[in-house]
Symmetry: C2
Subunit: 328 residues, 2 copies
């Protein structure tokens, strides 16, 4: 299993990316990582980390795409960028998966250009794991922002893709899929969700109907389907609320009892859950938070290896083919 890591992407590149990749190989020696980016910078980071396992290698890429760049333009202007080279390694079969913590837009564009979509998939979607009170303590939200103007058919495909990913990675048979809407009753929602619900009902996913924002976190489903605009806003709002609340907790107990604060904060730390897969491309691409640290990168690599081992993409293609094309 070979994982290409864009070592230049993210707020803490390259050091946290390199360190997290080395940690992953130390934990799971069956994984090889290819660190893609400026070779000198990467080797300088490796030199700080003691004995480097044999499974770690470096692939030079001279250019970098930053958060401020316009993704498509930047990819054209910088053909030797680390994110594009990482995707090309996956495209030609030299890597089984790609880890990207830089510009999400650039990762999505590079993946779509290089790997293309899985047969039958209209629009790739980003699936973000989040803490929830369900059996496994984690649920998945698709789409988290790749597709901000969804059509009903896209949401139906996210339901199928998300269910297959959840099943493979968290070993949960027939995960419960909910459609994020307002009101739990059938027929509540907006024009988009009403049409999407009907389409999801025609698939073979375990569809539990509408879920509300509260139920998403409360454990009412394992996979929550939303259009990318709504999904992104949910995640950012959740982050905002958690920061506001943890700030209060810190103010009240942080000084007297720092361990208690850390225990609480850690339960809500996204870096526990691995990264966010870009579902629907013909390859395994996992997007990480820009602020990812060493631990988050390590966990993302370990989780993405489970997706590759679980043959998620084969299951997705099979699931989508049972529900044949057509529709809006």
């Amino acid at each position: 299993m070979r994982v290409a890591v864009d070592a230049m992407g993210g707020d803490h590149a390259p050091h946290e990316l390199v360190a997290g990749a080395v940690d992953a190989v130390r934990k799971a020696p069956e994984i090889e990582v290819l660190l893609v980016g400026r070779e000198d910078d990467i080797r300088a980071e490796l030199a700080k980390l003691g004995d480097i396992p044999g499974g770690v290698s470096v692939v030079h890429a001279s250019e970098v795409i930053t958060m401020g760049d316009k993704p498509v333009e930047a990819l054209k202007a910088r053909p030797d960028s680390s994110i594009l080279k990482a995707m090309q390694l996956a495209g030609c079969g030299d890597a089984d998966a790609v880890i990207a913590a830089g510009s999400t837009g650039a990762a999505v564009a590079a993946a779509t250009m290089t790997l293309k979509r899985l047969p039958g998939v209209r629009r790739p979607g980003i699936a973000v794991p989040f803490p929830a009170s369900n059996e496994r303590g984690v649920a998945l939200l698709v789409d988290a922002g790749a597709n901000p103007d969804c059509r009903p058919h896209h949401l139906m495909q996210y339901a199928v893709m998300g269910a297959n990913y959840y099943e493979s990675v968290w070993g949960c048979k027939n995960p419960r899929v909910g459609l994020v809407s307002i009101g739990e009753e059938e027929g509540k929602g907006n024009a988009l969700t009403k049409e999407a619900a009907a389409k999801i009902r025609e698939t073979n996913v375990n569809f539990v109907g509408n879920v509300e924002g509260r139920g998403m976190f409360g454990g009412d489903c394992d996979v929550a389907v939303a259009d990318g605009f709504v999904g992104n806003i949910i995640l950012k709002s959740a982050e905002g609320v958690a920061e506001l609340l943890l700030g209060q907790v810190k103010a009240v107990v942080g000084k007297s009892d720092p361990q208690t604060f850390m225990d609480i904060a850690l339960k809500f730390d996204y870096s526990n859950f691995g990264g966010a897969p870009l579902l629907g491309v013909n390859g395994t691409v996992v997007v990480c938070h820009g602020r990812s640290d060493r631990r988050a990168i390590r966990n993302a690599i370990l989780v993405c290896a489970r997706a590759v081992d679980g043959h998620v993409n084969e299951h997705i293609v099979e699931g989508l083919s049972r529900k044949s094309g057509g529709g809006s």
Copy 2:
């Protein structure tokens, strides 16, 4: 100043409604409350509350609309329902404001039927106060669910109405208005927000552009504008995250230090902030959370009196007339 309270609406009706109304009059004797609903039930509650101030009176209504009812059908079938009678008191000038903690759908429908819209307003919107790290520690989200399929013109009107309400109730000159979107940069978002941003720019509100979910709670704006589908989901998600997080806090510190837990929980208690005004109807209507307790009802009555005193609706009509009609 007379406030009609639907004493039969909400999970804890009539006792918490009656008690909260009495508390409000005790706190602010210039307010009169009209408790609308089944007279016997209301008088039984009043009898438990000691000396009742002179400003508290009862208006009998024999019927009740419940959460499970379909709003429009139920209003037609039950013309003597407490919510409809409360709105009628406002419609004929016998009350200056209405407090409703029962079915939001029924309150919105009854208000729209009875009071009609303010001149120039296309669609009323619900404005919900929420905790934020801005100067006043509270921001306003419009629309929170009255209008789940918004057009750009509706969002522009929510910006104007929300700004005027915030200014009147929280005494903040030119509050900062943000449009909830994905990405803060101009031009980011979906088709709806891109058009809406252009329209809001033409008004005279203090528009700070896009805000993300994280920035909403982080204090980037005082008034956050969103379509009702997105707005409702943000609020419910925020509730879900806060419950999940407070559950952790409780598990860790709740037993050893219950006061600490209460201090933290109270900061996030919606009942601090008063209810949610239905902006755009020709009257002052404040919707309260179904779970409202005595304290929440009391605060909602006190806050809504500020809106009446501040002549919010006159300011809204003036603000909207400056930005003349047209558009989608």
